[in-house]
Symmetry: C2
Subunit: 196 residues, 2 copies
């Protein structure tokens, strides 16, 4: 990334700012493809950008189905709809799962920082029984000892999406504004104004 | 479908009712897979159920990329997050595009009914220049003559998603409630309570 933020970053920052009163403005839907070639879609929480990059941070559990899906097809598309300003960002790019075995010093630090930033309550959920399995009757399993706030548990993963294409649609305008941003091999972003 | 609605329909009806004050509660994100095997994700509007079925109705333009994606992989996953009650439905199933060439009498009627239900403004958008192409400078193209409210234009499509699996997550509860509903070959739905 050069010194300047691409235009879509400013537009996204503006959307986040103008919708900040709504907690759900930091939630978006992430689509992936299963090993069988089927689309999967779930709501996740925006955890900011990886420092000095355009890479979007998400957190996930290595026991979730996302992990296997990403291993098979490391591409995702975020659909992020802002309810107050009525605008949508579709952001597609490479996915990278940063798990406890990662040996990149910067990514190890980013995973640790993400763990430290979440609440005790959010951290405890990584100690819960395996997601997707038959519900445990033993409710004490859902009130584990609070894990260390300093060192992430092994199943805690940082999930990174590095955008290659961003499609921004503003529904308020008539006709609606739609801009397509695409990353070039030289690191620059092209901008096209397209029909909605 | 038997005489009784499956349980997930009641839960979805309840979510729609309790979130009815928010217009965006009728929007959800639909994930599909592109011919290249990549995930695609966009916000669409819920247009009710096809009469006497569990099939979800959406409308789309035959000129949109969705159409080609569905032809190649007729499977979709809806992620529907209700912001007020903090619950998510992930609904996956078969997709069927009902275009102007469809010869099923019931589907022809459903497509026509969907066209008649939308606003003049929404109908006009189907007359706009090709979506995704470079933006026309000629703004008059975005104020076409209002099309007939009776007969759908040829590029207007009804898009149907027939659910096979529904994953309902309630975030308000502690621990969160999560139920998985799956359609069996005999037409019944199984219900499993699973770990969130």
């Amino acid at each position: 990334m050069g010194n300047n933020l691409p235009e879509w970053r400013s537009r996204l920052a503006s959307a986040l700012h103008r919708n900040r009163a709504k907690h759900h403005s930091r939630y978006f839907q992430l689509a992936t493809v299963s090993p069988e070639g089927l689309p999967k879609n779930r709501t996740v929480v925006f955890r900011g950008f990886l420092e000095s990059t355009n890479t979007i941070q998400i957190i996930t559990d290595s026991r979730s189905q996302k992990a296997a899906q990403i291993f098979n097809q490391p591409w995702g598309e975020i659909c992020w709809y802002f309810t107050k300003t009525r605008e949508q960002f579709r952001i597609s790019g490479y996915l990278q799962l940063v798990d406890c075995d990662n040996d990149d010093l910067e990514l190890i630090a980013a995973r640790k920082a993400a763990w430290q930033k979440i609440s005790d309550n959010a951290r405890s959920q990584f100690m819960w029984p395996n997601p997707g399995e038959a519900r445990s009757d033993d409710l004490t399993l859902f009130t584990p000892e609070t894990p260390s706030a300093h060192e992430p548990v092994t199943n805690f993963c940082l999930l990174l999406l590095t955008p290659q294409k961003v499609d921004h649609l503003e529904l308020r305008e008539e006709p609606q504004n739609r801009r397509l941003y695409q990353l070039q091999s030289n690191g620059n972003w092209t901008i096209q104004t397209i029909n909605p």
